[in-house]
Amino acid sequence: MSLSVIQLRRAPVRTALLVVVVAALVFLVEYLATLSATLQAFSTGALAHLPASLIVYSGAAEGSLDASRLPPRLALRAARVRGVAAVAELGVADFTVAGPGGRYELALVGLGSGGPGWPPLVSGRLPGPGGVLVDATEGAAGLGQGRRVAPEPGGIVLRVTGVASGVRYDGLVTAWAAFGTWARAVRAASPGGAAVPNALAVRARPGVPLAALARRLAAALPGTRVLTRAAAVADVPGASVIAVTFDLLITVAFLAAVLVVSSVFLLVTVQRLRVWVLLRALGASAGRLGLAILAQAALVVVAGSVVASAALVLAAGASGATFPLRAAPGLVATTVLSVLIGACVSCLLPVRRIGRIDPAAAVVQP
């Protein structure tokens, strides 16, 4: 270890530059991964946390809750299908809300009573008439428990009665209300329009195969498309494109980080070849020298990761109230560990170079 530290300290500018470059790349990977995870959670959270087995959309909606509209009273027909334990109407509409940081867009989700149930509560109680349940991330947007919210247009006022976790929809600040409250808000916003449900949330009876129930529901409700909750989450428009795009960017940034460490240490190893030959001639084992290289790489990656993670925490702290980023410790740890492993593996090339050194060369060519 002391050899590694001494060598890094002997070239402070180079070490600092390498740490900065690695920090920037690790920050890129961490930031992209955080952004991707947040976008995914905010886009699909509402469906992912709905305790339903199946979601029924209109056939024309192509799996989009926004685009789906179902005829009124379809829930009654769905409830009569064999294997269905409970059905609830599900509606979604966007409103404008004034918050402490200015006006923002609010997705109001309406959920019928007697259905599969509400997303698990973190605090407070489930909403009754005029009440809403909000996401735990929305306190900064003025939607803390007990606060009042006035969706515009329409002039109705709702009160936050409870908080749940991870229940955002479409990336927007989201409030969940009873279906009746939701329909009242929609009718108030557009007096000439009809407040019809977007979808149905269905809970299957225990032991009923979901595929078979989906087929029975589709047959009983012509013009609809029935998806399991997992399929509905995967079908959220844009979710898969976001995932693929971010995965590509994260992979390339990760590769760049690993390659930078590998290339630099390969060049440094070649540059110090005489030193390595001399150390080998003086009795240092190839394994020990190889470990010194790996330790240097690890030190650089750890130092860069500390800087990068601190920068991520700062960036998350500076993110907006309506789209709050969170530096998840698990994600940061996974990223740092991956880069560390990648860098150490890629440094096997310079280590191999040291392994091939013949100590006799020091005597032949002093």
Binding site: A60, V252, S262
Partner: protein, 378 residues
């Protein structure tokens, strides 16, 4: 002449002699450049997909309802306001637009599209078509995005909204007019109202309405003055077209985030070049000093060093464009990526500049080599 020949060939010989080492540097820079080029392609594609329809609109001002946060789907303005706004000083013509993201049935398949209704002959609709014509008043027809040709749509084809409403006969094709990342179907405002009522029953209104009004100004009119006058008359929010583009959900935030990421990648590229140049200079210091002592000018050696630093950058950039072009070609047509030549060249220039900036410190070290000291050391 000999000196000039050496100056030109020395960096090339060095690159060749140490090709293994330069290959490692080149691969690293290629990956970094690929990241930058992918980000640029994504940024351009997302921007064009989100804003294309509005960017090519001939309207100077866009009028949103006040509580809409300047979002098309949330805005509603009664068409009865058109004559009133037409009388405002500085207004040359008033049109209206309505948008609807929906699914249409096409020859045995379905496609997600953005239907945009406009009043024929008024500001709002595209200024030009690539073939055919724009819909005329009273027709249930549409000019559609050229991307739908891949789905078998031709002039004369009929497209039907899966949720119902009147079928639209295709009378023309438009290009670069995407909205909400979807190909657009431009139709009349009347047809849009019927399609919206079928797909979004909650948006039905007693009086005919559009989502926004579009205004073309007289040549001498001041946009801000007209916007204030319109806002006062309608209790609305009037934006210039460029402001309306920036108000498209996520468009500005997406663009600035991607630009920040590109800037970060360029900084990293500069840092990596600096590292490699520093390592190279440190390794070759005595050789460079001997060359100075033997008569090579500092400028010539610096130029050689710059050439050796820029060669991997140039190769990396070219390879990155190749890789990205291949990825774009393999991506599905609806994937929002584009690589316009101007942005591609701009980024290439920035990458070169980052590479040159990274070499700066090492160049200074080369320029400071004193030949006299070198001779003493020999």
């Amino acid at each position: 002449m000999k000196g000039a020949g050496f100056a030109a060939s020395w960096p090339v010989r060095e690159l060749w002699r140490r090709r293994g080492r330069f290959a490692g540097v080149t691969v690293t820079l290629t990956v970094l450049c690929t990241l930058a080029v992918i980000l640029v392609s994504l940024g351009s594609g997302l921007w064009a997909g989100a804003t294309g329809a509005l960017r090519s609109s001939p309207a100077d001002l866009v009028v949103f309802s006040r509580d809409s946060l300047s979002l098309f789907p949330r805005s509603r303005i009664a068409l009865a306001a058109i004559p009133q706004i037409g009388r405002v000083r500085g207004v040359a013509a008033v049109g209206a637009l309505g948008t609807l993201t929906t699914t249409v049935a096409l020859r045995g398949a379905t496609a997600s599209v953005a239907v945009i209704g406009a009043i024929p002959g008024r500001p709002g609709a595209p200024a030009a078509v690539v073939s055919g014509r724009l819909p005329r008043r009273g027709e249930d027809s549409a000019a559609v995005d050229v991307a739908l040709r891949a789905e078998g749509v031709r002039l004369g084809s009929r497209i039907r909204q899966a949720a119902g409403g009147p079928p639209l006969r295709v009378v023309g094709f438009v290009a670069d007019q995407r909205f909400e990342l979807l190909p657009t179907v431009w139709t009349t405002l009347t047809a849009w109202q019927a399609l919206s009522a079928a797909a979004r029953p909650e948006t039905r209104t007693a009086a005919p309405a559009a989502q926004v009004l579009t205004i073309r100004l007289t040549p001498s009119a001041d946009a801000a003055t007209v916007a204030r006058a319109v806002d006062a008359q309608l209790a609305a929010t009037t934006l210039t077209r460029s402001q309306a583009i920036l108000a498209i959900p996520g468009a500005a935030a997406m663009r600035s985030t991607i630009n920040e990421l590109i800037a970060a990648v360029l900084l990293v590229a500069a840092g990596v070049t600096a590292l490699f140049a520093a390592l190279y200079t440190a390794e070759r210091r005595s050789e460079l000093a001997r060359l100075r002592a033997l008569g090579s000018s500092a400028a010539r050696l610096a130029a050689g060093l710059l050439a050796q630093a820029e060669a991997p950058v140039i190769i990396g950039t070219a390879a990155a464009y190749g890789i990205t072009a291949a990825l774009i070609a393999a991506a599905p047509p609806q994937f929002p990526v584009a690589l316009p030549l101007t942005r591609a060249l701009g980024l290439a220039g920035l990458i070169m500049a980052a590479g040159a900036a990274g070499t700066g410190l090492s160049l200074l070290r080369v320029l400071r080599i004193d030949p006299a000291i070198t001779v003493e050391d020999l």
